[in-house]
Symmetry: C2
Subunit: 320 residues, 2 copies
C-alpha cells in the first residue's frame, strides 16, 4: 500500500491521545498531550504536531500517512468543526479538521467520540463485516454511533445518534444535564449507576457492602465489586440498569433493525452482570420478528487503544 | 426518456389499486382488483396482469414501462417477498416481486406500505430534495419509513422502521396486537384515538357531543367532528394523542436527526388539532441543539393517489 498508515487522535477534556495505526488496527506509535493546557486552539494543534512528527518520521515520514481522524466532544463530521463543547478550553466553533489538514498537509476528518467508536468497531472490532449495527458507549455519559447500510448515521445536521438522551422514564424521571428529565443517560451512565445505588440504599433496609462506603462517593466500580461478591443490593442495581438498557435497546431495534448492538465503556466490564438483564429485557420488549435474532456484543477493541483506533478508522475513508 | 412510465401497485387487505405514473408523479391510468377474491397468489397476479395490460397498451405498450413497484403489508424489500402477512388471503412467504417480474417481463420491487409512502414523499411530495426525514403513517395502525442519507432504512433483515411499536407508555400501557403493551400505535392510530375517547368518556363527567354516539362505535372521525365544534373532551383527545406523538418524535429525532417528520394518513386530516400538540410536546422533549429546527409537515400527496405513487416511486430506482 502506498500510504499504509493513518493517524488517530482522541481529544478528551483533559488529555489528548494520538497514535499511528496500520490497516489491521495495530497501534504502531503512541503519543499524548494535555488538552487543558492550551488556551488557544492554534497552540493545541502546534503541540499535537510537535508530538506526532517524530513518530511519523519513525514510520517513514508523512508520505506514508493516508490521513488523520479525530474523535472529539461535539465533533461534527459534516463541517469538520467542534461546536460549543462544554468541557473543552475553547469556546464557540473550532474548525479542527481544517486546521489539522493545513498543519500536517494530509486530509483530516473528525466526528464525535461515540461515532468514532462505532467506525472503529466496524473497521477493526466486533462489528467487522456488519452493515447495520448500533454502538452504545457506557461511560460518564451514554453515547451512541449508529451504522445503517454500512454508513454512519449523521442526520441532516451531523448530530444524529444521541440515544443517551432518548427518554426511558417518562414521568418523574431523573434530571439530566441536557435539561430534559428521564434520559437513558441518567440511569445507565457510570454516574447513573451511582445515582441508582444511592437511591436503593436509601429505600432498602437490607445490609450491603455498599453501606461501608460514604454514600456520596459510591462509584459504579464499587457497585461492580460488591456485585461480584454476591451483594444483593449491588446485583439489583445492575439488574435495574440492565432493564433500562434492554427496554431502550428494543426500541432502537424497531428503528433500524440492526444485526447487533455493541456495548463499550466502563460499565461493559461488568460482563454478564449487565448483559444478562439487558438481554432479558430487550427480548421481552422486541417485536416477535426480532426475538432471539439481535446479537448483543461487547466491544472487541482493547480499551486503551479503542479511542485512537476509532478516530483512526475515520481516516481510511478519506479521499485525497 | 426511453421508458417514461412506472407502475405502482398498492396491495391492501381488501382491494389492490394500481396505476401508471410518469416522472412528475401524475397518475395517467388507474385500475383496481379485489385482493380477497383470489385464493391463490398466481390467480391474483394473473388478474392484476389482465387489469393492467389494457392500460399499458393505452400508454404505448410494455416497452414504455421502466418497472413495477409494489407496496404490500409485510413486504420485504431485500427478498421481494411478502412474509406471513396476517391480513392477506395467502399464508407463508410469497415472492411477489419475482412473480411480477416473470409475468410482466419488467423489473419489479416491493416494500411495505409505510416505506413506499416515504419513497413516494421523497420522489414526488413534501420531502423532495431531503436526504434525511421520517414518514409516519397514522391509519388503522401506525407505520413508518425512515430515510437516512437519501436511502430508505431497511435494516439488516429488511424490517426496520417499526416505530409504531416503540414503547410510549412503559407501565400499564395498552395491549397491542403485536403482543407488547404501551406501543405508540395503541395510542395514536385511528383505533388508538377511539380507545382514548372511550377511556375519557368513562373517566370524565363533562358533557360531550361524543356521548350521543354509542360508545363502542365511536371512531376517530367522530372525535374530529366533535373537536371542530369545540367539544372540550374531543379537543382533549387530540391533545393527548398529539402529546404521545410529540414525545415519541423527540426520541426519533435523537436517533437520526431528520430534517423533517412528515405525517400521513387519516389522522393527519385533523390539521392543527393534531399538529399543534405534536409540535408543543416534541419541542419540549428535544435536545437544545434541535429545538425549533425540525420541520413537521403533512404529506403533500393527494390521498387517493398516495399509495400508488409511493409504490411507483420504488420502480424508478430499479436497474434493468
Amino acid at each position: 500500500m502506498d500510504k499504509p498508515y493513518v493517524i488517530g487522535i482522541d481529544m478528551g477534556g483533559t488529555n489528548t491521545a494520538c497514535g499511528i495505526v496500520d490497516a489491521r488496527g495495530e497501534v504502531l506509535r503512541r503519543g499524548a498531550i494535555q488538552t487543558q493546557k492550551y488556551t488557544e486552539a492554534d497552540q493545541y494543534i502546534n503541540e499535537l504536531h510537535k508530538a506526532l512528527m517524530p513518530l511519523i518520521e519513525e514510520v517513514g515520514g508523512i508520505d506514508k500517512i493516508k490521513g488523520i481522524g479525530m474523535g472529539a466532544p461535539n465533533g461534527n463530521y459534516y463541517t469538520g468543526n467542534v461546536e460549543f463543547a462544554p468541557n473543552l478550553p475553547w469556546k464557540g466553533v473550532i474548525p479542527f479538521a481544517g486546521m489539522l489538514h493545513a498543519k500536517f498537509g494530509v486530509p483530516a476528518a473528525l466526528t464525535n467520540d461515540a461515532n468514532a467508536a462505532a467506525i472503529g468497531e466496524m473497521t477493526y472490532g466486533a462489528a467487522r463485516g456488519m452493515k447495520d449495527f448500533i454502538m452504545i458507549t457506557l461511560g460518564t455519559g451514554v453515547g451512541s454511533g449508529i451504522v445503517v447500510n454500512g454508513q454512519l448515521v449523521y442526520g441532516h445536521d451531523g448530530f444524529a445518534g444521541e440515544l443517551g438522551h432518548t427518554t426511558i422514564v417518562r414521568n418523574n424521571g431523573r434530571q439530566c444535564g441536557c435539561g430534559k428529565t428521564g434520559c437513558l443517560e441518567t440511569y445507565t451512565s457510570a454516574t447513573g449507576v451511582a445515582r441508582t445505588a444511592r437511591e436503593m440504599l436509601d429505600i432498602k433496609k437490607e445490609d450491603s457492602l455498599l453501606r461501608n462506603i460514604p454514600v456520596e462517593s459510591i462509584t459504579s466500580k464499587d457497585v461492580y465489586e460488591a456485585a461480584i461478591k454476591e451483594d444483593a443490593i449491588a446485583k439489583e442495581i445492575f439488574e435495574y440498569t440492565g432493564r433500562m438498557l434492554g427496554e431502550a435497546f428494543a426500541d432502537f431495534v424497531a428503528f433500524s433493525a440492526p444485526q447487533a448492538i455493541v456495548i463499550f465503556g466502563g460499565l461493559s466490564k461488568a460482563g454478564d452482570l449487565i448483559m444478562n438483564p439487558i438481554r432479558e429485557h430487550m427480548e421481552k420488549n422486541l417485536l416477535p420478528i426480532w426475538k432471539g435474532k439481535i446479537q448483543l456484543l461487547f466491544s472487541a477493541l482493547n480499551e486503551a487503544d479503542a479511542a485512537i483506533l476509532g478516530a483512526s478508522a475515520l481516516a481510511w475513508e478519506l479521499k485525497n
